[in-house]
């Protein structure tokens, strides 16, 4: 299995953090909070589409609500496969950072 891409990882982590209340709008908020940048809706859906196709998340349809033009919220939930992928990428991160000298700017 190929490693997750950075944006996929961020989206997955956000979904995990949101625990059951993860749908487009909340995911975007969470992602923007983590990264400190504003993400466009399009930028969220590209990785979301990919992790969904890879079965790393599954979707659950909520009730239709008027604010969404009569559409349902589509909730995203991490699958076991998704969790495995997250753990895998975490391991990679951890081992990547082992023994790396501090990168902090000294003056700050």
């Amino acid at each position: 299995m190929k490693l997750l891409s950075r944006s996929e990882e961020i989206v997955l982590l956000s979904i995990w953090k949101l625990q059951g209340s993860a749908y487009g709008v909340t995911i975007r908020k969470q992602v923007s909070k983590i990264t400190g940048k504003r993400w466009s809706i399009g930028a969220i859906y590209a990785p979301l589409h990919r992790v969904e196709k890879k079965d790393l998340v599954k979707t659950i349809k909520g009730d239709p609500i008027p604010e969404r033009g009569g559409r349902s919220k589509i909730y995203y939930e991490i699958t076991p496969k998704g969790k495995k992928a997250l753990l895998e990428i975490k391991k990679v991160h951890d081992s990547m950072w082992v023994g790396i000298p501090s990168l902090e700017f000294e003056g700050k």
Binding site: V25, R28, G42, A46, H49
Partner: protein
Amino acid sequence: MSLNKHSLPRLGGWLLEHIINREVRYSALGDFEEIYTKISEQIGIRPAKIWLWKQILKSIPSFLADSFYWGIVMLKNYFKTAIRNLKRQKIYSFINITGLSVGLACCILITLYIHFELSYDDYHQKAENIYRTIEIETESGKKQYSASVPAPLVPTLSEEFPEITRVVRIFHPSWIEKWKISCEDKTFFETDVFFADPAVLEVFTFPLVQGLQEKALTEPHSVIITREMAQKYFGHSNPLGKSLSIHGVQTKITGVIQDVPPNSHFRFKFLISLDTLESSGFRNVVYDMLNNWRSHNFYGYLLLREGVSSAELEKKFVPFLERHFNTKITGFDLYLQPLKKVHLYSNNFSYDISTSNSDVAYVYIFSAIAFFILIIACINYMNLTTARAANKAKEVGTRKIIGATRIQLIQQFLGESIILLFIALLIAFLLASLMLPVLNTLAGSDFSIDSGNILTILGLLLAASLILGFAAGIYPALFLSTFQPLHSLRGKLYPRVSRVHFRKTLVVIQFALSILLIIGTLASKNQLKYCMSRNLGFDKENVIGIPVRDVRTILEFDSVKDNLLQYPEVMSVGRSSSLPGKTLGRRGFLPEGHEWAPRYSMFVDHDFIPTMGIEIKEGRNFSRDFGTDIEDAYIINEAAAEEFGWDSAVGKRLIWKGDQNMKGQVIGVVKNFHFKSLHQKVEPIILHMLPEKSGFSYMTIKIRTQNILYLMEEIGNIWERFFPNLPFEFFFLDEQLNRLYATEMRLGKVSGIFTLLSIIIASLGVFGLASYITEQRTKEIGIRKVLGATSMSIAILLSKEFTKLVILSNIIAWPVAYYLTHRWLQNFAYRIDLSIGIFLFASFLAVIITLLSVAYQSVKASFINPACALRYE
């Protein structure tokens, strides 16, 4: 999708609907709407709109990237299914790929040929401004073109017209077939020896490898040789400054050039400075041609100033020509032919510098053949793919149920056909490179796939595959994608009648094209056979020609002749200034009751007419009994007698301009004989006697023997005894004459190959279609058998349908074929009548081929065990 009052502005919503991938559209649109609604409720509608548009603009790249990403994934899937389909249906794939790759291979080869033909002389940097001088003589309303001009014409033109910046004269005496060339230790006989003005290196692009361009040809007795010749004569040592003896004249090598490219209308190996012709050694080659306005033997090339129009310049020539050629009487005119047109547009020029000029018509013919073959191959593909519809139907149904749109299916099928085409293209490339040497041998050509043309060819072919993949794939794609999932999954697919008709139409077109090619090939074969077997008015068999090019031969002729006549096998020996099929000069004659005009004439001796077996119709041959024959006697042919309007020609007065005492009269009339190829009508010709001890060009020997090898060896020995230093060269007249049709022969062979290939492709198509139809009709056949049909009747039933189609295509092909072959035959003044036989034969052939292609399937079907057939499915 029902949208309530809070829905997005229409344009924004529409845009998003279209750019967001279908699979996330629902969810993403919901997000847009939710945030939009929130902003518009909390802050206002305007900020919400602003937010929306900003958001859309920011999102577009990501959404597009997303769609593209999944598009590629889908493409991979299509590729996979395409390969699986190919593997699953081996016979269909085989037929399809074979047909397409053979078709494409043909196209590659033809592209090569056409590319080569069109590339003639385009390597000269100044090609755009180089023109060749062509003489036009108008005779009884007919224009005669000749490439040879008098030597003084060219420099005079350049003196009088400032539009001309540089001129080159090239001299290549066709009456010398072999040149004896020797260096210190080697002697060879060469053919490609040319003379040229020094400006040749400036006007044309012949880069020197060694030597100085400015000085290379300025001195008399200097010669430039090609690299190939440098290697041949001097090996690895430096040839520069070495001397070569050419035709007994000492010359010094002042330059070495790269070999002249094959796409050059004249190709020399030795280029001697034109001034060398003044030297005594070449006197018997050039006579007094250098300063003679009446001797048309040089080729003139003009380099025009940038921007000068050749047509304008030609108009300015009029007074000039009048001054020098008395154009009012002779109807003489000068045409400036662009250099790049020389190869393809000089077919009817006489006295041309090149014997290998082609005709633009052949470029068209081959383009048409390539196009036909491609169409046939495409039709095959369309037919086979639609024929497989039943098998495809399930796939289509499944895809549709899973959610494929029609557009996606069309994309998929188009993609499949393009993939197939690329596979075919690869194979075609291999095939073409394998066939290339074969073709070259057959056609006597020299094409190759090299760095010069590979890009053009690849580009063309890639474009062609894409277009073809699209053209051939679009119909099946449109057709297949219309299936209703319900019907197609139940496996009940009844093709509509119109579809069957369409498919049949395709088969008809395919066969019509093949039949067209067959008829064309047969007609050209017949015409060629006719050319070679027609009674030419003289015996061409058992006549040996020996080209004569040395003064010694002239002096010793009588003794050589006596020696030859010692052999019982040698019947007679004649002399002449020319031979049928060779270049023939024209001289001014004044027939009684007519004007001076240049007419074909040939110098012969007493024995020429009997040696050639030319029949005398009236009067007598030249005779030794009449001493005055040498000066006063003329023999004309029937055509001349007719033109002069002489019922009884003998005794009529006929005066040659060179005739000092003006006593000439006609002593005989010979039956018309073809002194030119059958492309041209027999024209009037006047035979007169070679003056004593004068030069002649050919010795002809009429022989009667079974053992030609032995006799030729004997003749060779005699030659060796008399002229130990001259090479013994000879030709058989009939072989020499056949060369007049070399272009047609080449065309015939090559188009024969392509016809064969087109038939193969078409029959592959019929084979595929037949197997499909029999498969479709398995049940019907089973029932028929149960009801008592014999195997035979079933085989006939299945074959009948195809035979009908082929007959229909005959009806279409015949008129077209008749029109085209009829036009081609107009090239010949003497031609076959297009017999119905050719047409019938082509039809017969087509029917047989069809039956053979269908036979396997129908026989297989007819032996089917009804029980199995009915259980089918």
